[in-house]
Symmetry: C2
Subunit: 399 residues, 2 copies
């Protein structure tokens, strides 16, 4: 038969992340591409113990549960969020299949075709894909290492009357930036004034490098506006426990949570009961904070290694900002070098990264790329950088 | 702030299943409402053993995986499907977060606002919700105990030029019907002729009652048309292993699978790695067929119990078809009795069911309701029916 696909299908054509994950499946490519945590540090024994506790409690873990999520997990998450200056109840929370689903569900209930969504420049590529799939038009706001440019934000709020802005204020993907508190408060104030919802994506907030005394407050925790928060906050266990458990959460006004829960019912009824209950037992019986501190230190060392290698290679015209946290370094190549073309050469040499083009809402800078530093151990990082060096040298020579 | 929700949010207002699941959370209500399997028969030990095997293999189970699903699970499912006259490869398959997500993703890539989707009368309420959320207009086709009425189907294919029809040919939800092979072949032939895609939802196909020698072939297995199958088939482990693992699968032309995978990447990146790998180990080391046969017999006994109680109570004017398989009995009350009003009385008496209204694409028969017979044990079923009897007597007396 002749399939009659929807117009929407075309919006999914950019499947960069998916192709990236495919690249990492083989052993021959040393990949700096995916946003993968270091799997050798997953708390396997603690997860096994947590699973055993769930199974001891009988069969309920395997039955259908509430769309909103397993209540004791939501309660435990509320207690965790209190340490981060956030006071919420389970009614302000929805459990999702990773924070990717939070982005999808909020867009589904909040965005009509043609709506503008302001985003950072650059920003998370799979968020752009979701927005476009619902017919939204993402437009980027300029920024620097301290966060969004408030003047440009105000101008674009006035010009476009966007329904929503999407931001990663704490260790952005791909740039590794952390917004200053002044910028955070400025963005909140402007969005309240223009009645614009903020989707705050916070997958990396616990992976902070440098001075431990510096605290980055979430926009959600700073928003004290009485008439309903203008912030929808999402985070995930994917970077702090393990991505395979596919469990994230959203905090928002109860009305928004109720709408997202209705959309989730249609999307998949609920997330895995088993994963949610395993995570609940993990939170109750495992020192997750100590584990996160261990992983955080390890990632800081890996970041330092990659930075030192970048400094050693000192490729002419290649620049970067040192990430304040998270999992990525964002590189600028000399003007005129297309990182997409470079990727093909790199893969032939046995290394991979993500070309920058997919991280831009519009007018992509083709001479940019994203490197992950959390997945690979020292040896792999050194060997991968050798391969990247060979790829880059061939391009730089040509240039 | 004043939230500016999308128009789509309104399409999610019918949250019947969700409210039903809430009703079943307390202990005071004996519920015939949800489509819940008997949790005392979940293979807890086998799942624990499978989980232990996954953990023995190291940390990969906890890492991100392919959007399409864990390859060894897809391979094992291909082998299982061979016993059902289906020859497919992993490229014809996508793993989903339950078959609910399969309905959602196919609709997302195949349906534009205003498209017509033909459905059975009555049909699965959460499928209607998905279709409406993407702006589709579901229209029902008449049928009887042998399946869709082919003349009505042909007339509506001509009249509406629908992109898709959605059907549950084997033990339908809510009516418990099994289509004859003649009807199955007739529907295939008509849909090919009119270039209409068939979404075949098969969550209950393994739960067959009565003569064991009777075989109900899936539409997917019967479709031998050379130019791409017109059938997209979905099934799930929710009814045969456990719903809490949230794992379903889709079989379709590789082009459709690729489109659905791109949509899934945006929706949630992938389903739980842990659940998928646990199910793979379960398929490799557990006699799932013997387990299904055990559960099937148990459900047939529970169906027989409920039928015998319905016969004993013999409420005047209340009729039903004996289900050929699955999990539900569909009741017609006397004309003029609204099952929604009855539910309120029933809940006050401590029992619940699903009013029929939500199962109709249009012109609902308000005097219908759905009862589940798989979840409750003998004692609970007997007590629940006593409570329903009190509720019904009060309505029948008034009538």
């Amino acid at each position: 038969m002749n399939y009659r696909y929807s117009e929407r299908l075309g919006t999914f054509s950019s499947s960069a992340v998916r192709e990236i994950l495919k690249l990492t499946q083989g052993d021959s490519i040393l990949s700096f591409a995916g946003g993968l945590p270091a799997e050798e540090h997953f708390p396997v024994q603690a997860i096994s113990d947590a699973f055993a506790r769930v199974m001891e409690q009988g069969t309920k873990a395997l039955q259908y549960g509430l769309t909103e999520g397993y209540l004791p997990l939501r309660q435990a998450l509320c207690r965790r969020m209190e340490k981060k200056h956030v006071r919420v109840t389970p009614d302000d929370m929805l459990i999702t299949t990773g924070s990717q689903q939070a982005i999808d569900l909020l867009t589904r209930i909040y965005i009509d075709p043609g709506d503008i969504i302001l985003v950072e420049r650059p920003t998370y590529l799979s968020a752009l894909q979701v927005f476009r799939s619902y017919g939204a038009v993402p437009i980027s706001v300029n920024g620097d290492k301290d966060g969004l440019d408030l003047a440009d934000l105000e101008a674009k709020l006035k010009q476009y009357n966007p329904k929503m802005i999407y931001v990663i204020p704490t260790f952005s993907n791909p740039a590794g930036r952390a917004w200053s508190e002044e910028r955070r408060r400025g963005v909140l104030e402007l969005c309240h004034r223009h009645n614009t919802l903020i989707l705050e994506d916070d997958p990396y907030g616990e992976l902070k490098f440098g001075d431990a005394s510096v605290e980055y407050r979430s926009l959600f925790s700073l928003d004290k506006h009485p008439q309903g928060s203008c912030v929808v906050y999402t985070s995930t266990f994917s970077k702090t426990v393990a991505p395979g458990l596919r469990t994230g959460w959203v905090l928002a006004d109860p009305g928004i949570i109720a709408g997202m829960a209705r959309a989730k019912q249609a999307a998949d009824l609920q997330s895995s009961s088993l994963d949610q209950q395993t995570l609940h037992q993990l939170l109750e019986h495992f020192d997750l904070d100590a584990h996160i501190e261990f992983v955080r230190k390890e990632y800081e060392e890996r970041k330092n290694l990659l930075i030192s290698l970048l400094e050693q290679y000192a490729w002419p015209g290649v620049t970067w900002e040192e990430p304040k946290g998270g999992m990525f370094i964002w590189l600028h190549l000399p003007e005129g070098i297309d990182s997409g073309a470079l990727l093909k050469i790199a893969v032939a040499e046995g290394a991979a990264f993500v070309p920058g083009v997919s991280f831009f809402a519009e007018e992509p800078e083709l001479n940019t790329l994203r490197m992950n530093f959390t997945y690979n151990d020292t040896e792999t990082t050194i060997e991968g950088m050798k391969r990247l060096d060979r790829a880059l040298q061939s391009v730089l020579v040509k240039g």
